[in-house]
Structures are given as structure tokens and as C-alpha cells.
């Protein structure tokens, strides 16, 4: 029987025969730890190994994105523990100014199609946007990967998701992503990999692919995969300086455990209601609910295209009185481009609070906590109870976030 593309990527990194359900050992191309989990990784390494604590320092990185710069002493301490260890071991640190680690692996040309990368970030399957296998892991796993360069994988079965129809503005990849999440639910891909295909998938830019693959986590999936097109391949070649990059391919007779068709013909803007990402409805069903705050950013929607979509809607206008609009670019590179192309001024004039790069409004980032009763629209990926504070969080696309910010209530961008 032929292998799926995920099985082939795993097979290329293993000396064992690969088949779904089988546990195999793989050699990992890249391993990273964040300021979250990083100090625990250092503690494990120090406790369990006297010397040679890192198998290959050039494939190992720290990325500080969770609370960047640290706004509390425990996080500041943990970042410093990682910095000191990194210096001893010769490991590169992408420090608090650089942005979200998974995005840096993409933009610095470190992660390439067909790679396996692991990190203390549950949204690492974002790397499927490049055609790589990314896996979020806990600190025990990552410490072991730092030390040995290896990990065990239970080879997942692969679900094929075929998207029918096309996306038309103002809809974006986030609406498509939420529509797929609604269909699969929070457990639809539990323990499995997903291969996305269809015309709407092929037409997605790298930024759009990042949005979709990041939320495979919310579908319960281990990894998501989109076959890189020539634009993604060119991006990887340009960023890495390597010419020999090709797209990994499934065998023609690959076996998928399930094929799911999602028809997006006539799709309307989508929104996740509190407190579950998979609790998705059309924006128009909850239109008119008053909002207090908006967050633009996260590993799901903190890219250039996301900011551009928001800036184009806010240009020359002001956010509704009393609505707090916080924006956090995913990386310093996005931040720099906003400055150079005049978008910071557009956002500033509209009343947006622009922060330096990082995870920002998710988890316990600096800009994201909500108060009791506060209603927040977020372009992030999770709205679990209490995650971003005491308030209620809805998940939306950048365009829906901007449209709603202008009216002070949940508003479909189709209306603009």
C-alpha cells in the first residue's frame, strides 16, 4: 500500500519501517524551546545529563515569544535561565524582540518542506504551511530532543480534507479554517494527521496557509499538511539560500483513513463563540452583540496580510468610541514592514494600540487579559474559558475584527 505524504516524511527520518499506528524513532531536523517551557527543559537537561547536553547546537534554538519582554519576575527568571544555558552550549536565542518562534523558523529559512521540527508550542503544526511536519511537545520530550536529536512517533493515520469551491473577499483563510473546524469538531482529527487539498487550498498564500495549519491543533490533529506550491517553494529557496528544495509528495496509491469534503460555496464570515474554538456559526447569527475589545495577532493571524486587511478597512476611520483595539505583529519583520509601508500610521490614526512582536494576546501575554464581563473579539486560535482572562472571547478573521471594531459590535465585513 502507498504511503501518505506524512508517512513519507516520517519514513525519510527513520531507519524503521513506517506504517500508521506503529511507533518509530525519528531523527529531528529542528528543536526549539520557548520562554514557556524553556526553563523546564534546561532543568531536565541539567538534572539528567552531566555533559553533552545538546546533540547539535546548530539545530537547536530558544525562542522567546510568550511573554516578551517579560512583564513578571518568574518569566524574566526563566528567560534568563535559558539565555545563560544557551550561551554555555552555543545555542542561538531568538530573543524577546524577534517574535513568534514557529514563524521565525519559516521566515529565517530554517524550516523547509519535508522537515520534522518540534518545539514547546502546541501550534507547531503551523509548519505544515510549508509542507513540513511540526509537532508541539512538552518539556520532557523537548529536553530529550535537545539531548539526542531524536524522538518517538506513533505514526498517525491521515485524513484527507478536500475543500470544494472558492474563497472570495472579504472572506479569508480564517473563515475557511473555522468552517473546516466546525465540520471536524474538536476531536475530528484526534491523534491523526490532515492533508488539505482542493482549489481554495491551492490558492492560499503562505500567510493563509499558516492560518489554516495553525488550527489543526484545535481539530485535535497531530499535523496538518498543504503541498507547497511554486510560490511557497520560491519563498523557502530565497529565505534559506538553497536551490535544492522540492515539495514532498504522497505515493499515488496512498491510503487515507478518511476523506472529508467541505463545500465552501456561498460561505459567509465565520465566528467561534465562547468557550470553544469549534463552536462556529455565521457572523450574521450574532451580529449586533456589543464588544469591548479587539485583539489582532497570534500565530494564526499576525502576519503581513492580516495587518494589511485590517489597515485597509480602518484607513481614514476611527475605531468605535470605547473599544480597545490591541495589535501584535507575529514577527519583528512584519512590524518593520508595517513601519516602512505606512501602516503603523494608519493603525495609529484609527486608534489601534500597536505592540512589539510576539504571541501578545494569547495565553498570559502582555496585552490580552480580559476583565469580568468584557467581550473580546480575537483573531487568535483559542477561546477557552479563562484563557485570556475573565471575559468572553470570540474568534474571528482580521476583516471581521476590523469591521466590528468600527461599529463597536459584532459586524460582518460583508456590510462594509
Amino acid at each position: 500500500m502507498g504511503k501518505t505524504v506524512i508517512e513519507k516524511i516520517i519514513a525519510r527520518h527513520s531507519r524503521e519501517e513506517v506504517a500508521p499506528g506503529k511507533v518509530v524513532w525519528v531523527d529531528i531536523d529542528l528543536r526549539t524551546a520557548r520562554d514557556f517551557g524553556g526553563a523546564n527543559v534546561v532543568e531536565h537537561l541539567s538534572r539528567h545529563y552531566d555533559k553533552d547536553r545538546v546533540a547539535n547546537f546548530s539545530k537547536t534554538f530558544f525562542t522567546f515569544d510568550c511573554v516578551a519582554p517579560a512583564n513578571n519576575i518568574p518569566y524574566a527568571n526563566n528567560q534568563q535561565i535559558c539565555r545563560v544555558f544557551a550561551q554555555q552550549q552555543g545555542i542561538k536565542v531568538f530573543d524577546v524582540d524577534q517574535g513568534i518562534g514557529s514563524h521565525l523558523l519559516i521566515d529565517k529559512g530554517l524550516c523547509l518542506p519535508g522537515y520534522i521540527a518540534v518545539g514547546t508550542d502546541s501550534h507547531f503544526n503551523i509548519l505544515g504551511a510549508l509542507g513540513a511536519l511540526g509537532q508541539g511537545m512538552g518539556d520532557v520530550d523537548i529536553a530529550f530532543a535537545f539531548k539526542t536529536g531524536k524522538t518517538w512517533f506513533e505514526v498517525p493515520e491521515t485524513i484527507k480534507v478536500v475543500v470544494k469551491g472558492k474563497l472570495f473577499p472579504p472572506l479569508s483563510s480564517k473563515d475557511l479554517t473555522l468552517a473546516i473546524l466546525k465540520r471536524l469538531g474538536s476531536k475530528g482529527a484526534l491523534g491523526k494527521a490532515i492533508e488539505f487539498c482542493g482549489e481554495a487550498i491551492e490558492s492560499l498564500s503562505l500567510d493563509g496557509r499558516i492560518t489554516l495549519t495553525s488550527m489543526v491543533t484545535e481539530m485535535g490533529g497531530i499535523a496538518g499538511f498543504i503541498t507547497p506550491d511554486h510560490k511557497v517553494l520560491d519563498y523557502c529557496r530565497a529565505r534559506s539560500g538553497r536551490g535544492d528544495i522540492e515539495a514532498p509528495m504522497a505515493d499515488p496509491n496512498a491510503h487515507h483513513c478518511q476523506t472529508i469534503e467541505v463545500d465552501i460555496t456561498g460561505l459567509k464570515p465565520q465566528i467561534s463563540l465562547p468557550y470553544r474554538p469549534s463552536n462556529v456559526v455565521d457572523v450574521e447569527e450574532v451580529e449586533g452583540e456589543k464588544i469591548d475589545s479587539v485583539f489582532l495577532g497570534s500565530c494564526t493571524n499576525g502576519r503581513w496580510e492580516d495587518f494589511k486587511a485590517v489597515a485597509s478597512l480602518l484607513k481614514g476611520k476611527r475605531v468605535f468610541g470605547g473599544v480597545m483595539f490591541k495589535a501584535v505583529p507575529a514577527t519583528k519583520e512584519v512590524y518593520g514592514r508595517l513601519l516602512r509601508e505606512g501602516l503603523t500610521e494608519v493603525l495609529f490614526d484609527a486608534g489601534v494600540i500597536l505592540n512589539s512582536a510576539g504571541c501578545g494576546g494569547c495565553a498570559s501575554g502582555q496585552v490580552g487579559m480580559t476583565g469580568e464581563g468584557e467581550v473580546q473579539l480575537s483573531t487568535g486560535n483559542r477561546n477557552f474559558k479563562g484563557k485570556q482572562g475573565a471575559g468572553k472571547t470570540f474568534l474571528v478573521s482580521p476583516a471581521t475584527a476590523a469591521a466590528s471594531a468600527l461599529y463597536g459590535k459584532i459586524t460582518s465585513p460583508v456590510k462594509l
Binding site: 514557556f36 513578571n72 502546541s122 520532557v140 529536553a143 506513533e154 476531536k187 477557552f384 474559558k385 479563562g386
Partner: protein, 180 residues
């Protein structure tokens, strides 16, 4: 075999106030992100289930060697090891449930913490309730309600890698035995 294959203990079944199984309990409900900077195991237990409605006092009520019984997709969400470690910290002997978040399952296996699949243990009503004694065989998956003497179907044995890591202690110890 150094570590016990047979685990027997009093259970806590994660149900809501209406008695329904709570599915999709995410890692922020198990161990909230406000406590992520903590790195000492002994300090983690006090925050276990601290953000799960109706279960905030679990750390005070649970005793060492108790068993936690959970529904589907337990441990969805973030990769935080603390969501496993907080139960190790309290001395919980085993988590048995219908399904687990993918990363959560790895995290438990790698730290040598027993996690066992048992489809239907919560969703089929009348099988188990908090307070009864459960007896679970990790290598066969056989599960008994020790209080009533009834067998509970659906228990799955540990996978090979899970048993090997469990017996070695954790992934670090296991690694020494299999890698050069």
C-alpha cells in the same frame, strides 16, 4: 518489572453538576497559564483543575493513590507539561479516560505517568461514580469496579513504548537503555 502493573484506588469522575461527562477539558482548565512559570513539581499540585468549574477544590479533596476518570479529548490545547505534572505532584496514581489530547498523551507517557484508554467508561451511564474503588491492569487493560465486582469493558492495554517508558521510570531513563 519494577513498577506496579495493577493499580487500585478510589476514583474521581470528572462530571459536571448535571452528572454529564465533561469532554474537551483543555490544559488551561487543568493548569491555568497564570502558573506556568512554576518549575518545581511539589508546587504544581495546588493548581490542579483550578480553572474547571465545580472542581476547583480538587487538590484539597484528592489523596495520594486516587484515580482520575475523564471523558473525551482530556488535555486538549497547549503543550504544557504542568497539566500532567500537577497530578503527579498530588500523587494521583492513574488517569483513565475515553480519549486524550495528542500532546497530553505524549507528555504523560514520557514522564512515566500512567494514562489508560477506556472507551465508554464515563459516557455509558451507571458504570462508575466518584468514590468507588477501581482496579486496573496496565498491561492487559482489564478494568474492574472493585466496589461492585463488575468488569468494565473497553480498557486498552498500554502500548509497548508506553510500558517500556513506564518501567524505565521516564523518557530520560528509557533513552539510556535504547540509545547509544
Amino acid at each position: 518489572m519494577k513498577r506496579p502493573i495493577l493499580i487500585k484506588g478510589r476514583i474521581w469522575v470528572l462530571r459536571d453538576k448535571q452528572g454529564r461527562a465533561i469532554d474537551d477539558i483543555d490544559t488551561d482548565q487543568i493548569y491555568h497559564n497564570a502558573h506556568l512559570a512554576i518549575t518545581e513539581l511539589e508546587k504544581m499540585g495546588q493548581f490542579a483543575l483550578g480553572n474547571l468549574s465545580g472542581w476547583e477544590d480538587f487538590p484539597q479533596r484528592a489523596r495520594p493513590r486516587d484515580i482520575l476518570v475523564v471523558g473525551r479529548n482530556f488535555g486538549a490545547g497547549s503543550s504544557r507539561q504542568q497539566a500532567v505534572d500537577c497530578f503527579r505532584s498530588l500523587g494521583i496514581a492513574l488517569i483513565i479516560g475515553e480519549s486524550f489530547g495528542a500532546i497530553y498523551k505524549r507528555n504523560a507517557i514520557n514522564s512515566g505517568f500512567p494514562l489508560l484508554l477506556c472507551l465508554g467508561i464515563v459516557s455509558q451511564s451507571g458504570k462508575v461514580n466518584s468514590g468507588v474503588i477501581l482496579e486496573v491492569n496496565l498491561s492487559t487493560g482489564e478494568t474492574y469496579n472493585h466496589t461492585t465486582g463488575q468488569k468494565i469493558e473497553g480498557g486498552e492495554p498500554f502500548s509497548r513504548v508506553q510500558m517500556e517508558i513506564y518501567q524505565a521510570g521516564d523518557l530520560f531513563e528509557y533513552g539510556r537503555t535504547i540509545l547509544p
